[in-house]
Amino acid sequence: MAAPVAIHLEFGGGAELLFNGVKEHHVTLPSQSEPWDVKQLLVWIQRNLLKERPELFVQGDSVRPGILVLINDADWELMGELDYRLQDQDNIVFISTLHGG
């Protein structure tokens, strides 16, 4: 059994509007048989935090195009994307890209 993982989630660039405008969430992912990865985190967010319009956040088993995922202040592409194994106290940011000005 893997122990529960406490992580810090952040939403920005307008993505927070899908979560009642709340930018920061401290969450604890429950203990489960396998270690938590980002793919499972997306499912967990959908079930526990995302109230409506999931199509504006996820597409298939990944995030929708136009949302960047950052793991501890680095592009998730550098960290293994969906397969990254979450560590206790990780900081995961979902940021929607802005257009215009």
């Binding site: 409506e52 504006l56 802005l98 257009h99 215009g100 000005g101």
Partner: protein
């Protein structure tokens, strides 16, 4: 004495008339000098200055003292051309600081005219410039600041056809916000701002990604919000435009941008900057990769399915018989026909302006079926039903700013009709409150 006074007055009048004449002549000449171009024109290459003049030394003295810039850096700036795409909230401060710092040539490109709703953030334009081409207005403001900077205002829309020509003429830092281009290795200092947030990235620079490396698939159209839909605090693009100017000045003067392979995020609400390490240039990228499949310039609007403009979009979700025109609604009011007017805008917009008889329930509350709002709606429909004779369905007219959200609300209400609330006839008012302001009541505010 009296004679002397009248003589002096006459002389003064004469001089004043002469001043007016001279001012007009000057204005005409300046008009010629800042000609507005509606197509890409051939430009002579910028010549490198051999040395700084005494005026240059005085003007730039405070930055020449910086070892990071110095005389060589200043000379480098003077031979640099920068194309600024969009003379709006980002482009204005960007152009202003580049000109002030002594950049050699500025291409200023914008297809829009100055509007009153631009002035809170597009700080090169003034009240007197309303209706003028933004590119020209920006060019005259920049000229006032530093007449030694060569300004080329373009009144045109960036297209795959003209973009390549333009890029070739501005070989240094290209803050092109709106195109994804192929086969180019020019640094692109890109920024955006919305609501209380800003983002900045330098693409195609020092092994960092291109736009397409970072976003291989365009965002769905409905997820792209612009300033006229989402709102923006003017100082936020101001800060981001200044940030762009900083990075352009570093690159143009011969230093290295600090934003190489980075995304900088600015949260104005919390006054927080954050710098994110991005993926490097991707070998599999369709644009800059080893085997690129995109070898032509790609139109941003086609790529993203959205227009590169501040203007609002028009939705069409309903059939003709589900909508009425603003004139139809005016006659319903004039004939005192019983009805319910439902305003589905967010509260912050209702505070700006509203029609006195409307009931406000934001679209989001309708979609989420907030119990308090549904109770209120039921109550008002009940009252209306009592007012009306027979068993006809009470009419509900839905209004918003422009007639987009109101169509979505009609769809929600039609599903609720006969179940959550009594049976009703729901119709959308085309064009919304802005149509009311334009066609019915000119004293009603527009925003």
């Amino acid at each position: 004495m009296a004679q002397e006074v009248s003589c002096l007055k006459a002389q003064l009048r004469e001089k004043e008339e002469e001043i007016v004449r001279l001012k007009n002549k000057l204005a005409q000449l300046e008009q010629v000098r800042t000609e507005l171009f509606d197509k890409v024109i051939p430009l002579t290459p910028l010549k490198a200055k051999a040395a700084l003049s005494n005026d240059d030394i005085m003007r730039y003295s405070r930055q020449l003292l910086l070892p990071e810039l110095g005389v060589q850096g200043q000379l480098n700036l003077s031979k640099t051309s920068v194309l600024i795409v969009g003379c709006g909230g980002l482009g204005c401060p960007l152009a202003q600081y580049l000109a002030a710092a002594g950049i050699g040539r500025l291409g200023l490109l914008d297809y829009d005219e100055v509007e009153l709703s631009n002035l809170h953030r597009q700080v090169l334009h003034g009240e007197k410039n309303q209706g003028q081409a933004k590119a020209l207005s920006a060019a005259s403001a920049v000229k006032r600041l530093n007449s030694t900077v060569e300004c080329i205002p373009y009144h045109l829309q960036l297209s795959p056809e003209n973009a390549l020509q333009l890029i070739q003429q501005y070989p240094a830092a290209n803050p092109l916000t709106y195109i994804c281009y192929a086969g180019q290795t020019l640094p692109l200092v890109s920024a955006s701002a919305l609501r209380l947030e800003g983002q900045l990235t330098v693409y195609n620079y020092c092994g960092g990604p291109c736009y397409r490396c970072l976003y291989p698939v365009p965002p769905p159209r409905e997820t792209v919000t612009n300033c006229s839909d989402g709102g923006v605090l003017g100082v936020v693009p101001g800060i981001m435009g200044c940030f762009q100017a900083l990075e352009v000045l570093k690159i143009a003067s011969g230093q290295v941008s600090s934003c190489c392979q980075k995304l900088v995020i600015f949260d104005a609400q919390d006054a927080k900057f954050r710098s994110i390490k991005l993926r490097p240039k991707q070998a599999g990228c369709a644009v800059c990769g080893e085997r690129p499949s995109v070898t032509q310039l790609v139109d941003y609007e086609a790529f993203c399915g959205t227009a590169a403009t501040d203007k609002c979009r028009k939705l069409s979700l309903l059939s003709r018989d589900q909508r009425i025109t603003i004139q139809d609604y005016k006659s319903i009011v004039d004939n005192a026909e019983p009805h319910l007017l439902l305003d589905v805008r967010p509260l912050v917009e209702v505070d700006i302006c509203h029609l006195p008889v409307s009931l406000n329930i934001p679209l989001l509350s309708l979609e989420e079926k907030k119990s308090e709002d549904i109770r209120l709606l039921k109550e008002r429909i009940g009252q209306l039903k009592k007012q009306m004779s027979g068993d006809c369905q009470p009419p509900v007219y839905v209004i918003c700013k422009l007639g987009n959200d109101s169509q979505k609300a009609v769809q929600v209400l039609e599903k609720m009709s006969g179940s959550e609330v009594d049976s009703i006839t729901v119709k959308d008012i085309c064009g919304g409150l802005m149509a009311w302001a334009k066609r019915i009541d000119p004293t009603f505010p527009q925003y």
